[in-house]
Amino acid sequence: MLPRCLCDECLCDEGGWVECLGDKCRCEMSRRHFFIGWSPASARPIAAFLAAVVVSGLIGLGGLAMALGSRVDDPGAGDITGDRVLTGMLVEFPYPVLVLDPDETYPAGHAVLLSGGGKRGVQGEAAKLAGQRLQISGTGVRRGSIDMLLVGEMKAAPASASGPPQAPALVPMGEWRLTGEICDGKCVTGVMRPGNGLAHKACANVCIMGGVPPVLVTTSKVAGTNFLLMGDPAGKALPDAFRDHVGLPRQMEGTVERIADLLIFRTDVSRAVVP
């Protein structure tokens, strides 16, 4: 009996040898095993092997799909809350905010960020109406303490029983050094899940470039919240330099102010550093 050939031409474990040549062999198996695509019968000798490969592949792919599809990071509990009609004073910092009248839930008043449909802000419409008491209808979005209304219609509100509207007070809260991620206020509030992170960076840039209010999501709470509306030190919209810092962990210094229950962080974003 011929010894087992160690070359890789032959698939036989034993037997069936015709001739062993050291680095080549001839056996019945190696002669039969030659797959030709247009001849399905040629695959029969390795059908069991191919079946094992296919089954293993399907099991492996299925396992990967389940693992990759189920083990995801928590995108947060932001969500669309449905149609809302809100009444309050419209102010701009410079992003438009509607400060609602105080009620039982919000004794100090409640500030709602305003944005338009799609990746658009409502600065244009709001500029004409700033300082007025308005009734605004739209779609609400909420995540934790941050509230946003995707504006559908803005109109003058009925006169208040308490007399003419008064501008809400802006309360200084001092100098702060904050660490967090600059996001667009719309996606991070719950229009997208996830609406933050580096994979979402370009989308956040497009939103903010379109006028959606930028929000700093801090790693630690500031006066009870992780969400601060952002603006530059002069009270204007963020300069283009913000784009390089969106979606990334950044540390920035600036002043914090509060209007109703909304914090506003004014900072020179071009000086943001990696924490």
Binding site: K24, F35, A43, G69, G118, M192, D244, L248
Partner: protein, 349 residues
């Protein structure tokens, strides 16, 4: 083989191949998008667009990994050759899946803005000067362009039109596309997630592709380093002993200019042709003689032993070589004859 161009020259193997591939893709996407989310432990489910993006994106990456692994796996173990046979169809499926991933990303991240969505894909992130935050979308765009280009030129019409060497060089672009996809994921999704699973999968896949190629390359390098020595009569070289070639099998010898030549034994006679199949430069010497014709192990293209011509009505031709047998040794004239030149097979004894 096909004597004329058809969209797909279907046969049983191709149908089985495509059914299995589509089944695997369907299984992956179904589990990822509909079953796996039921096992997520998060506050609220991810939005549908993000799930679709993740499902199609990872599916395209895994398919590219499979495509790149099949080649070296088949060189290391011939039993994987059936996976190579219809690999181009998986390539076309991969391009379609990558397009779905890209379109979902564009539709979700870049639409509904005051500006053109495609303009915003390029303008949305311009942080070229930093690694973290680099516009990883550009790597994805490049990879998608390559995948679509390769899918569009995958038909044999383009193979013939461009010639096999050019076509082959173009389709080697899949390696560049794969590298771009790895960068696309590494600078994008991997930077955004805290769960290490995706990083582990991507690293394992890229390592597998690299390891298989290194293993196959080392084996081939060992074979290729054995150059046929010159015989005492110029220009003949010594190809090896007659006994080294089994009946209906081939043997590959390398000339000193690196050219590989395949020598086949059939019915007591020897014939030599170039080792490169006229179809896709497949390794003919690793093929067999079937029905009296040299048969390529990759796609089953066939050539007559005596003149290297494909049987009519096919028109492919191979360069042939002259042989002699002396004292049980095969001698080869290293000067190739024009493709299709008749050379009478040499009797073994």
């Amino acid at each position: 083989m096909s004597a004329r161009y058809e969209p797909v020259g279907w046969n049983t193997s191709k149908i089985v191949y495509d059914v299995v591939a589509l089944l695997a893709i369907g299984l992956y996407l179904s589990l990822f998008m509909w079953l796996a989310p039921r096992f997520q432990h998060i506050s609220l489910p991810l939005d549908g667009f993000t799930v679709r993006m993740n499902a199609f994106g990872t599916c395209a990456f895994l398919l590219m990994t499979l495509i790149l692994c099949v080649g070296p796996a088949a060189r290391l173990d011939r039993r994987f050759l059936p996976l190579l046979y219809n690999r181009r169809h998986i390539g076309v499926m991969t391009a379609a899946i990558a397009l779905t991933h890209a379109w979902t990303a564009v539709d979700w991240y870049f639409t509904y803005s005051p500006n053109n969505r495609f303009e915003m894909v390029l303008r949305g992130n311009t942080s070229f000067s930093q690694v973290s935050g680099f516009p990883f979308e550009l790597f994805g765009i490049f990879a998608l362009f390559m995948l679509v280009l390769l899918a569009c030129t995958s038909h044999d019409f383009w193979l013939k039109f461009l010639t096999p060497p050019v076509w082959k060089a173009l389709h080697m672009g899949l390696y560049a596309a794969y590298a771009a996809v790895v960068l696309h994921i590494a600078l994008g999704a991997l930077q955004a997630v805290q769960n290490p699973l995706l990083a582990v999968v991507v690293t394992l896949c890229a390592t597998l592709v690299g390891a298989l190629h290194v293993a196959a390359s080392r084996r081939e390098k060992a074979r290729d380093s054995m150059v046929a020595p010159p015989y005492r009569e110029s220009p003949w070289v010594v190809a090896g002993p007659v006994a080294a070639i089994a009946e209906d099998h081939g043997m590959v010898v390398h000339l000193d200019d690196g050219e590989p030549v395949a020598i086949f034994r059939h019915q007591g006679h020897l014939s030599a042709v170039t080792n490169l199949c006229a179809h896709q430069n497949g390794p003919l010497g690793e093929g067999r003689v079937v029905d009296g014709c040299i048969t390529c192990p990759w796609h089953g293209f066939q050539y007559r032993l005596a003149d290297g011509r494909a049987p009519e009505p096919f028109t492919e031709k191979l360069a042939t070589y002259r042989l002699r047998v002396e004292d049980g040794m095969i001698l080869l004239d290293p000067r190739p004859n024009p493709p299709g030149t008749h050379v009478a097979p040499v009797p073994v004894r």
